[in-house]
Symmetry: C2
Subunit: 419 residues, 2 copies
């Protein structure tokens, strides 16, 4: 059989290590010229396929590929762009047209729940239309909320970042508390699932260490209990470090703070939980408060990537190409945990039906009985994911990240009119 | 002459490397048993002297001393605690009583402008009272606003942190801009001086790179010009990265956001500039905005310390002990720059009168003509200060920071009633 081309796209929020996955896909594909022609990467994700804007990623020089592997963000661009149903949404047909025009026989989609759903729909449609396509989903999300995999590449690095940041800030606050800040509040990502917030629990080396309270989206916020606990911790230790997930919400499900803006998927854009809690603590407890919102800093912090996470990100990329070569489509590459310490894992394939649009929240057994901390089980789960350092190369004191500009494949179709 | 004891105290906001200074002071002092007896460190800074709570820092085991050198925050505690005038404030007499009771002949005070002033007053008082005391100020401040020194230990590390964070977040925003966030705003420290904000300018490797706008406390905020520039950058590049100093203020000097709370020195506690600007951009330009507030994360980020900064922090500690031994008091250890690239420097002593209570703002020639960026001169000044990496040791994926508990020296005076 003649070699066929491979289409790779990044989807949704980017991570510190998603480009390491991309580099692994490209490298592995290049080692199989008998089966894979070009690796074409969608410019701005799936939009690149619709618009026929396809980077010739396999043409990258070796040096660029090495730089790609340690550069955060999404090198080819990503997008938040929701497709409808294949029966009613003409964009699916357009995708197939582009795949046909560029002889794409492999579709590797690197994203979260939403893109797993898209990957599944594209795979089904191709089958119905008789277009031979192997579609493999590669997990990626800092939220760690995909089911059927031990963890999601991208999560270990953000986990490491928030744990390190919490530990460092706690040392700062502890040294100044008597005459300055008593309460420090760090807001971390996590709309619906508290995985990132939970990871800050690793900052505590001993009982009583910061963070003293973690607010999870899974636990309804109770103002009186929160204030009582903050006051008690300050009384006991002189200061209190609070971590709050951006999705911290009240018992009725309403977020503490909500903006009117929604993203392409109808997700409400949150933010501002930390200043809201800070104002509450100042007003009610009359304590000096500082707060930080890490926002994109946490998910782009390649300088503090977890070596374990990086290794997983590369491994899922390689495995996806191998599944594609074996004709094993309609699946997501999944991580199976074999042992906690040292962490041992293997990769497998799970049907996309088991992944698409499902969200894995923090299990109850990971949340301490009082709702404000993590359990030993959670620590055992989280600890190996932040293990190991993998610093990028530095140049003049700053990480030597690189912007790539591979050529775009020549167009073969008429321009697409965005539907 | 019999050996006399050395009192060391940390003052004001802590940094990622102030403990490296402390470790250098202790190590250097221990090498001079002929002149220096114990190193006594004030618990929570100068408060420890007033309360006669003096850690026997010279008793620290070698392993603890090594850990001290790479642990952020202030290991002995610091404080924001303003003394009045020696003539009217009885606390100065108390300080001298404690110094006498513990035969303290050397006073090393590690802080910023306020503590330089205190150091000077204590030195004068001791002389007036006939108590032989060599008082040396050791510079430390992330704000980099002390005069008469090339830079302040602590600044290089926060500069590196904000530059790296800006670069990383920019890669994230660039990859998602078409369908997601168009404008990213990072708030950094700097009430009156824009040194930290300026350092983010190092994130730009090429013209047009982020940060696209920097808002300095030294440049009055003009809403219309700001919005016009943000809109233009988004139009040209698809996204815009803004850095705002917390002290960004309007032409009349009023901050963009102010809380009612003031610290012990009457400084207004600021914060919230980023969300304020974000709301402005959303409302007026209808662009999706994300924002981050680094707060204490930036000044405690020992994991990303600048090797140059660390070296300076250690060097000023050593030099302070050497000046003390030479009887050279009433001075601050200052860094003199000999060359930019590679950075060469030497240490000298400047009279405290030239330092106390003076603030060095960003010079006009470091700010771009349009007020939104830094000049080549600023880059030449800043670049060497962030050079080199000095990661702490890691354990189980997190920096192995240590809390120390050296013994407290036995009390020799009646308890002090806080005035």
């Amino acid at each position: 059989m003649a070699p066929r081309n491979l289409f790779y796209a990044q989807s949704g929020g980017v991570t510190a290590v998603i480009n390491a996955t991309a580099a692994a896909v490209i490298e592995t594909a290049r080692r199989h010229p008998e089966a894979i022609g070009k690796v074409l990467a969608g410019r701005n994700g799936i939009l690149g396929a619709l618009r026929e804007e396809l980077y010739e990623a396999s043409a990258l020089a070796d040096g660029d590929l090495a730089a790609l592997a340690h550069t955060p963000g999404g090198a080819f661009g990503s997008c938040r762009y929701k497709l409808g149903e294949p029966g009613s949404d003409p964009r699916y047909q357009r995708l197939l047209e582009v795949f046909r025009a560029h002889d794409i026989g492999y579709f590797l989609y690197n994203g979260g729940n939403d893109s797993a759903d898209t990957c599944l729909k594209v795979a089904r449609l191709a089958r119905e239309c008789g277009w031979p396509l192997v579609a493999v989903h590669i997990p990626k999300t800092v939220d760690n909320d995909l089911p059927a995999t031990d963890c999601c590449p991208g999560f270990g690095s953000v986990a490491k970042y928030v744990a390190v940041s919490t530990r460092e800030a706690a040392f700062d606050v502890a040294s100044m508390a008597e005459t300055s800040t008593r309460v420090f509040i760090l807001e971390v990502m996590g709309r619906h699932a508290g995985w990132i917030a939970a990871a800050t629990g690793l900052a505590a080396a001993e009982p009583g260490d910061a963070p003293h309270l973690i607010l999870f989206p899974e636990v309804p916020f109770d103002e009186a209990r929160f204030l009582a606990r903050v006051e008690a911790v300050v009384g006991e230790r002189g200061y209190c470090v609070v971590v709050a997930a951006e999705g911290t919400s009240r018992g009725d499900g309403s977020p503490l703070v909500a903006s009117a803006r929604v993203d392409a998927f109808g997700h409400r854009q949150l933010g501002g939980v930390a200043p809201t809690l800070a104002a509450l603590v100042e007003a009610r407890l009359n304590l000096k408060v500082h707060w930080a919102v890490a926002d994109y800093l946490q998910r782009s912090a390649r300088h503090l990537a977890s070596a374990t996470d990086l290794e997983l990100a590369q491994a899922v990329g390689r495995a996806a190409v191998e599944y594609a070569l074996a004709g094993h489509g309609g699946v997501m590459v999944a991580v199976e945990r074999l042992a906690d310490r040292p962490y041992r894992w293997s990769l497998g394939a799970v049907p996309l039906e088991e992944v698409a649009n499902r969200e894995r929240k923090l299990p109850a057994e990971f949340i301490a009985a009082d709702g404000f901390g993590i359990t030993a089980a959670a620590r055992a789960y989280l600890a190996p994911l932040v293990a190991g350092e993998a610093p990028p190369p530095y140049r003049d004191g700053l990480p030597d990240y690189r912007r790539l500009s591979p050529p775009l494949a020549e167009r073969r179709l008429a321009p697409w009119r965005d539907a």
